[in-house]
Symmetry: C2
Subunit: 270 residues, 2 copies
C-alpha cells in the first residue's frame, strides 16, 4: 500500500491533511480517488491506514480508519557519522542507510576530506539529502524520516556530541603488519601505510554493550581517518573496530556496519 | 599497496608476468619502476608480494619476494542468485557484493523481471560485470575474482543447481496481515498484496545450519518473486527468510543479507 509521511499537526482528530509534493503523487502518479486507502506515517513512529475522502487543488484529505501496529523502527538507534565522500556518493549513503535502518546522519569534514565545501550550495545539498531520506523511508516502510544534520567537522562532533551516545564505534582498517612487511617498510615505500592501531572485532565490542540503545558509527572518507583523528576519537571514548579483512569503500562501510549492528541486536527481523 | 590479479600460469618459479590492461595501470597510472613492490593475487586464494624487475611494451615482470598469509576470503561461500534488476543496478550489486564477500553471482530472469533480454548484448554485459567484479575485488583485497555466471532463468537454476548448496535462502517480504487488514482486504483493493507465506528469521534459519559452507541467496527483482517461484523454490528446499520489517530495495537486499550471513558465521573480522 502506498505510504506518505505527514506531520503530526496534519492530523485533527480522525482527519488527515496531505499537502506539498505528495498531492501531485497521489492525484497524478497514483491516480487515487476518494475511497482509496493509503498509509500515512506521522514521522513519530506512529502510522495509520487512511481512506481518502476529499481532493482539493493543493491538498488531499482523508480519514483514519486504523492506527497501525507497525514496528519497523529499530530499538537501537544508529547515528551514521560519515566523512564526506567524493562526488554524489553521499546520496547513495543516505538512501541505503535509510533502508537498512540508520536513524540519522551527520556528514562531517575530516582531515582527508577532498570535497570542496561551498557554503552557498550547502543548503541545497542538505535539502537533496533530506529528500532522498524521505523517499527511501517511504519505500522502506520506515516510521521516521532520518534527519540529516548540518555538515560539521569530525573534531567538533567528537568534542560536542560524542558523549551523548551509549557507544561510539570507529570503523578502522588497521591490521597488524607482518614481520616481513615491517622489514620491507624500512627498505621501500611502505611509509604511507596507516599507523597500526589495535582494533577489536565489531562482535567483541558489541558483546560488551548488550544494553546499548544509541550508537554512533564513524566512517572515514575515501582516504580513511587521519591518525590524529583516530587518536582524538579514542580519547573521546570511541572504540575502533574492524569490519574484517575485506576493505569496504566508504559508501559501503556504513551500510554494512549498520546492518550488522542491527542484526547483532536482533533488529533485522529477529 | 597496489594489487593486481594474475593467473596461476603467469607464475614460473619466482618469476611473475603481468599482461593486459594492468600493464598500462602499472606504467602510466601508478608510474611504477623496477624495484617497486606490488601485491599479486593469483585468483586461487594465494597472494604474493612482488618486486617489479623488467618492463616490456606489453608485459611487466617481477619477482616474488614473499608469499603472503592473507585470509580475506570467507570460509562460507555465498552465491548471490539475483533477479535481474532494472537499468544499471546490477553493476552496483556486483560491485558492492564483491566488497562484502560474495563468492559468485548468478543473474537470473524471473517472472517479474522487466529487463529486455538481448542475446546480442549479453556477452558485452557479462564482460562489464566481470570487469566490475575484478576492480572491486582488487580494491577490497579479495583473493579471488567472483565469477558472474551466464544469465539463466530462476526456474532452471532451481531445478539444476540448487541442490549443490548446503543451504538455499530466499529473501521474502511476506509478513502476516493484521486482522483489520484481512477485513479490509475484502472491502477494497488489497488484492495485490503478495500471498502470505510463513517466513523464518534469517537468524533462526542460520542457527539451524552451523556447518553450512556454501549458501545460495535468492533475491527477487524490483517486483519481488512471484508466488509460483516461491513455491517452486521451497519445493526445491529453499528456506524463505525475512530480513526484517524494513523493505530493502533489490540492489540493497543481497548486500545486506550477505554481510549479515558472513557476520553470523564469524567471517567479518570475528
Amino acid at each position: 500500500m502506498q505510504r506518505y509521511f505527514i506531520s503530526p499537526e496534519d492530523i485533527q482528530g480522525q482527519q488527515v491533511r496531505i499537502s506539498g509534493d505528495d498531492v501531485k503523487h497521489i492525484t497524478r502518479v497514483m491516480r487515487f480517488e476518494p475511497g482509496d486507502l493509503i498509509i500515512c506515517a506521522a514521522g513519530n513512529e506512529v502510522s495509520y491506514r487512511v481512506q481518502l475522502t476529499d481532493f482539493a487543488a493543493d491538498a488531499v484529505f482523508g480519514e483514519i480508519v486504523e492506527t497501525l501496529q507497525e514496528q519497523s523502527e529499530p530499538e537501537v538507534k544508529i547515528t551514521l557519522v560519515q566523512g564526506l565522500p567524493k562526488s554524489d556518493k553521499m546520496d547513495l549513503i543516505v538512501q541505503k542507510g535509510t533502508e537498512a535502518g540508520v536513524s540519522d546522519f551527520v556528514p562531517v569534514e575530516t582531515i582527508r576530506t577532498i570535497v570542496n565545501y561551498d557554503a552557498k550550495k550547502e543548503h541545497k545539498r542538505r535539502d537533496r539529502w533530506q529528500r532522498i531520506a524521505k523517499e527511501a523511508a517511504e519505500q522502506a516502510h520506515r516510521l521516521i524520516i532520518p534527519e540529516i544534520a548540518e555538515v560539521t567537522t569530525l573534531k567538533e562532533w567528537l568534542l560536542q556530541k560524542s558523549d551523548s551516545y551509549d557507544l561510539v564505534l570507529l570503523a578502522y582498517e588497521g591490521q597488524p603488519l607482518s614481520d616481513r612487511e615491517r622489514q620491507l617498510d624500512g627498505e621501500s615505500g611502505l611509509g604511507d601505510k596507516p599507523q597500526i592501531l589495535a582494533c577489536d572485532s565489531l562482535r567483541a565490542v558489541l558483546n560488551g554493550f548488550p544494553q546499548a540503545r544509541s550508537i554512533a558509527l564513524l566512517i572515514g572518507p575515501e582516504g580513511g581517518f587521519d591518525p590524529q583523528e583516530v587518536l582524538l576519537a579514542t580519547q573521546q571514548g570511541a572504540r575502533p573496530v574492524t569490519l574484517g579483512p575485506r576493505i569496504l569503500r566508504t559508501e559501503t562501510a556504513g551500510l554494512v556496519a549498520a546492518a550488522i549492528i542491527l542484526y547483532h541486536y536482533g533488529q533485522m527481523g529477529g
